[in-house]
């Protein structure tokens, strides 16, 4: 199992992801440069958080046409695993690999905070080992994280079990009160129809290192590592 973290100009969570996977999970991981066409034989591609291309035009809008993304799209279309976190999620929606869009937070501000999310299913790779009744404390840090999709899409996401995470209370209640950015249905993360591409706004890589006092994100990486290695 080999992980690849794509580095766009303006990515700033790439090293955090590399640390979480290499130090936290003891897995092989390499960085993939945006100008390259080589995925270096990686099985699992991660698109990190940050402000790729300065968020010029629109978050993720320019990153999706970078050279490496042509390969990432091909990798995904042939069934390979791809996951985007924060800006990575935005890029995947812009690239059409994930349904919906991420709009400006409802309070019109950047929000950095510890929030709780609960898995909406355990049928997706990153939530396989998670407890459906548990809230996981995972930090968010974004200005454009309000998940939006049309009614038909939302219905398909629901019917096909593609909703990965919802914002919740610390007791896993998914009330509107705990909806940090105004996302439809409290959606914090989704998958594609084939369930090999995933996106989430919260940063699980920020909740892996025990020295930071929060390891709730480990279960997500463990789910990925365990299944793929099995």
């Amino acid at each position: 199992m080999k992980f690849g973290v794509v580095v766009f100009p303006g990515s700033n969570c790439d090293q955090d992801l590399v640390d979480a996977i290499s130090i936290g999970m003891q897995q092989e991981v390499v960085k993939l440069w945006h100008k390259s066409h080589d995925l270096q034989g990686c099985d699992f591609i991660l698109l990190p958080g940050g402000f790729s291309y300065g968020d010029y035009l629109r978050s993720g809008a320019i990153a999706r046409i970078s050279p490496i993304m042509q390969e990432v799209v091909q990798h995904a279309n042939s069934g390979g695993y791809v996951m985007g976190i924060c800006n990575g999620f935005q890029i995947l929606t812009e690239a059409g690999l994930l349904p919906g869009a991420l709009l400006r937070n409802v309070n019109q501000k950047f929000i950095c905070d510890n929030v709780y999310i609960k898995p909406a299913t355990t049928n997706l790779l990153p939530t396989r080992l998670l407890d459906l009744n548990k809230a996981y404390k995972i930090p968010v840090a974004h200005g454009e994280g309000r998940y939006h999709a049309d009614t038909d899409t939302l219905k398909r996401l629901h019917d096909n079990d593609q909703i990965m995470f919802k914002y919740s209370s610390n007791a896993a209640e998914t009330h509107e009160l705990y909806n940090v950015n105004g996302s439809l249905l409290n959606i914090a993360g989704v998958s594609n129809e084939k369930k090999n591409v995933f996106g989430m706004m919260p940063h699980p890589e920020r909740a892996v290192d025990p020295e930071l006092g929060n390891t709730d994100g480990r279960a997500i990486f463990e789910s990925i590592v365990e299944l793929v290695n099995a």
Partner: protein
């Protein structure tokens, strides 16, 4: 007033005393320039002198006193003034580069860009040293929070800091926010950054080796920020909006690319020197690097990548366009720097060459447009140095007449408690810090266990840095010497409470007009207090900046505000201490002696509206004793939490310790003191700690032979806060009021 000399490109262009005056130079300075050059300068040359000799670049009105500050210790690798930022050895082959800088004047006019470019500038100072920034803090002061103007400034500044810092990708881990009418027109925006570099891999702001190529790297040069340094060196008034072209525009995306490219260039091994272009742009970087390396430069201004057409030489030389670096490489390494910049999609142009001798020659299309000696432009070289007159202001002795007996003790102390907990100066700054990414970098240890100072891991080692910015400017106004000593002592206390060892400071000296003797008296007093405290605490000054003219023509100067940014080191991560109570049943103690003192407290100033009183009680020896005791208690694992008594007094300290884990407290006051003074007074050198039941005996024993007064106040409880048996409030209600007070005003 902004001068447009667009059509005047002629080298011979005549200048007079009047031209010099318009550029902010004194008559005597104009005479001196003529002497240096042996002729009358042309307009371009005069512009160069005017920015280099502005207060902002030359420190001409402050350097005499700055030189009295302690600046060395075995840990100091780069002393104050030697490089772009201070450099401190943190052991195991690593060093920390850190600095604080003001961006007050730009923020007063254009809060969003003013604050954003302040963040950009301070981070460039860190990574030109070769250090990768790992932590940012900021210290902000505004006028009356209920005024529309303050709210506009606050929103803009916070968004500017957030948008820039978040995109740049370095966590903002702490800071200060303070409101007072004295900042109505002139807010203070001070930005701090700290970075890590391996010892021996640092870069220097120098230039030498005739024939070596000089490059400009980063953004193209435009007309923004021309005369920014001169603008920062005069009073802020309502007319300052006319100086809008003096404000720069920031692009954090370029900064991020510049960071990565600069570090790669430094690590290439082919670098001679590097300096960022902040104040006074190409002028400042070419002259300071050349003076330091005792060489000259020929610079070809037409080679500079330009954002707009028809820029004349003085505009190119003075432009403060952001995200640019001046880099001198070894001859033959031209392709190395070009390849790195290509990789990061940055402009990289050779704009000149290092020469023998100390002359700076600037050419435009082959024509010499200015020639000046580098050394005469810079601090420590030919820049003027002034001894300014100072005089004790009348209010100082007036303040000393304050007598606590003239203040009636309120009957309803619960109302005072509620008032203070929701006062904008004390209430949670959540509205602000939620807009800053505090966790990027996965190294912030003070998010999930809050502490008196920010604690950030140095990855690849077992160490952390512990950083804080502190200054209670009300104390400094009341008594500059004592108040500034308190600012240093409080910064150290915060670092000690978080589990760190204070090692050095950087300062941001925000004062009024230095030509006003009463203002200069405040400056001199503050420096004396800082010197005393830094010597006592063993924390030398590694640099910083001076911001004078924080003064509105109609409303007098701002409070003297010498913001202290302090660096501490934590050798082992298990030494980290939180401010949060951990468990009901733990005992609560106060270390340090209570006083019958409410002087300069938020309680006296805002609740009783007594605006003039001395600085709070402070004794350096007690301070050192209490800090030493807490260090030992933490090392011996005898305490569960440590939190210093600061703004709002003991009551606010207890509340702040109780809230993170939603616990309560049950404490008794001491009948030997007025109850309001005991609960809300701000006398210094006190720390509240909590102790697990099984460790109380060992705890008390450990303190018995120390020169520290301690007193058991009570216990941590599950939910409710009782004082002398009276229920003040449940913790969930108090926490909600405290957390949302700023939001209530701003949303």
């Amino acid at each position: 007033m902004f001068i447009h000399y667009k059509s005047q490109t002629n080298v011979e262009q005549h200048t007079t005393v009047e031209t010099a005056r318009k550029l902010g130079l004194l008559e005597e300075e104009f005479e001196r320039i003529k002497q240096i050059l042996g002729r009358t300068p042309n307009f371009t040359e005069l512009s160069i002198f005017s920015v280099m000799w502005s207060e902002h670049c030359s420190y001409k009105n402050s350097i005499v006193w700055l030189k009295t500050l302690p600046k060395s210790s075995p840990r100091i690798l780069a002393e104050a003034g030697e490089e772009n930022a201070g450099l401190v050895d943190i052991g195991d082959g690593y060093a920390c580069s850190f600095k604080i800088e003001s961006h007050n004047h730009p923020s007063a006019i254009e809060p969003y860009q003013g604050a954003a470019t302040g963040v950009g500038g301070i981070n460039r100072d860190i990574f030109t040293m070769g250090a990768r920034p790992i932590a940012q803090l900021n210290s902000l002061r505004f006028g009356n929070i209920h005024s529309e103007k303050t709210q506009r400034l606050l929103r803009g500044v916070v968004k500017g800091i957030g948008d820039y810092g978040n995109a740049f990708g370095i966590p903002t881990v702490g800071g200060e926010l303070f409101f007072d009418e004295c900042y109505n027109i002139n807010p203070l925006v001070n930005a701090f950054s700290a970075g890590i570099v391996k010892v021996g891999q640092t870069a220097s702001a120098t230039s030498y080796g005739a024939g070596n190529p000089v490059f400009i790297v980063g953004s193209a040069t435009g007309k923004d920020g021309i005369h920014g340094a001169a603008f920062a060196s005069k009073d802020i008034t309502e007319d300052s909006v006319n100086d809008l072209p003096s404000v720069q525009v920031g692009d954090p995306f370029q900064e991020k690319l510049l960071l990565e490219a600069s570090l790669e260039i430094i690590q290439s091994g082919d670098l001679i020197g590097i300096q960022d272009m902040g104040a006074a742009g190409i002028t400042c970087s070419t002259s300071e690097m050349s003076a330091k390396g005792e060489h000259g430069m020929d610079i070809w201004l037409d080679k500079v990548p330009m954002r707009q057409a028809n820029m004349v030489p003085f505009e190119i030389l003075l432009s403060e366009s952001q995200e640019r670096m001046l880099i001198v490489m070894k001859k033959g390494a031209e392709q190395t720097i070009k390849d790195i910049c290509d990789k990061w999609d940055l402009y990289c142009e050779q704009i000149g060459v290092v020469t023998e001798g100390g002359q700076l020659r600037y050419y435009q299309n082959g024509e010499l447009v200015a020639e000046v000696p580098a050394n005469d432009l810079v601090l420590g070289g030919g820049a003027p140095v002034y001894h300014r007159e100072y005089r004790e202001p009348a209010y100082f002795s007036e303040a000393k007449k304050f007598n606590i007996d003239e203040v009636e003790e309120p009957e309803d102390l619960q109302a005072v408690a509620e008032f203070l907990a929701t006062h904008p100066n004390i209430a949670s700054k959540r509205w602000v810090y939620r807009q800053y990414d505090s966790m990027v970098g996965t190294a912030t240890m003070s998010t999930n266990a809050p502490a008196d100072a920010a604690v950030v891991k140095v990855k690849g080692t077992d160490k952390s840095i512990v950083v804080t910015v502190d200054c209670n400017s009300r104390y400094v106004h009341a008594d500059p010497e004592q108040g500034c000593a308190i600012a240093v002592a409080e910064a150290a206390r915060n670092i000690v409470c978080a589990g760190g060892e204070p090692v050095a400071i950087t300062n941001c000296l925000n004062f009024g007009n230095p030509y006003v003797p009463e203002v200069y008296w405040q400056f001199v007093g503050a420096i004396k207090g800082m010197k005393k405290a830094c010597e006592a605490l063993g924390t030398p000054v590694t640099g910083g900046n001076v911001s004078f003219y924080n003064q509105s023509s109609d409303e007098g100067p701002v409070f003297p505000t010498p913001t202290i940014g302090m660096l501490g080191i934590m050798e082992k991560k298990d030494n980290k201490m939180t401010l949060a109570f951990q468990q009901a049943g733990d005992a609560i103690y106060m270390l340090g002696e209570a006083q019958n003192d409410i002087a300069s407290s938020e309680y006296l100033y805002s609740y009783h509206n007594v605006k003039l009183s001395p600085a709070p009680y402070f004794n350096m020896e007690s301070e050192l004793n209490v800090q030493a005791a807490v260090k030992e208690l933490i090392a011996d694992k005898l305490i569960q939490s440590a939190h210093d008594v600061a703004d709002g007094g003991l009551y606010i300290t207890l509340l702040e310790s109780a809230m993170p884990n939603e616990l309560g407290f049950d404490v008794e006051t001491d009948k030997n003191y007025r109850k309001d003074a005991y609960l809300f007074g701000e006398s210094q050198s006190r720390i509240v700690v909590s102790v697990a039941p099984g460790k109380q005996e060992a705890f008390e024993k450990a303190l018995q032979n120390k020169q520290v007064t301690f007193k058991k106040l009570g216990v941590v409880t599950r939910h409710d806060c009782h004082i002398d048996g009276v229920l003040f409030h449940g913790i969930s209600v108090a926490k909600k009021h405290y957390d949302t007070a700023l939001e209530q005003i701003l949303e």
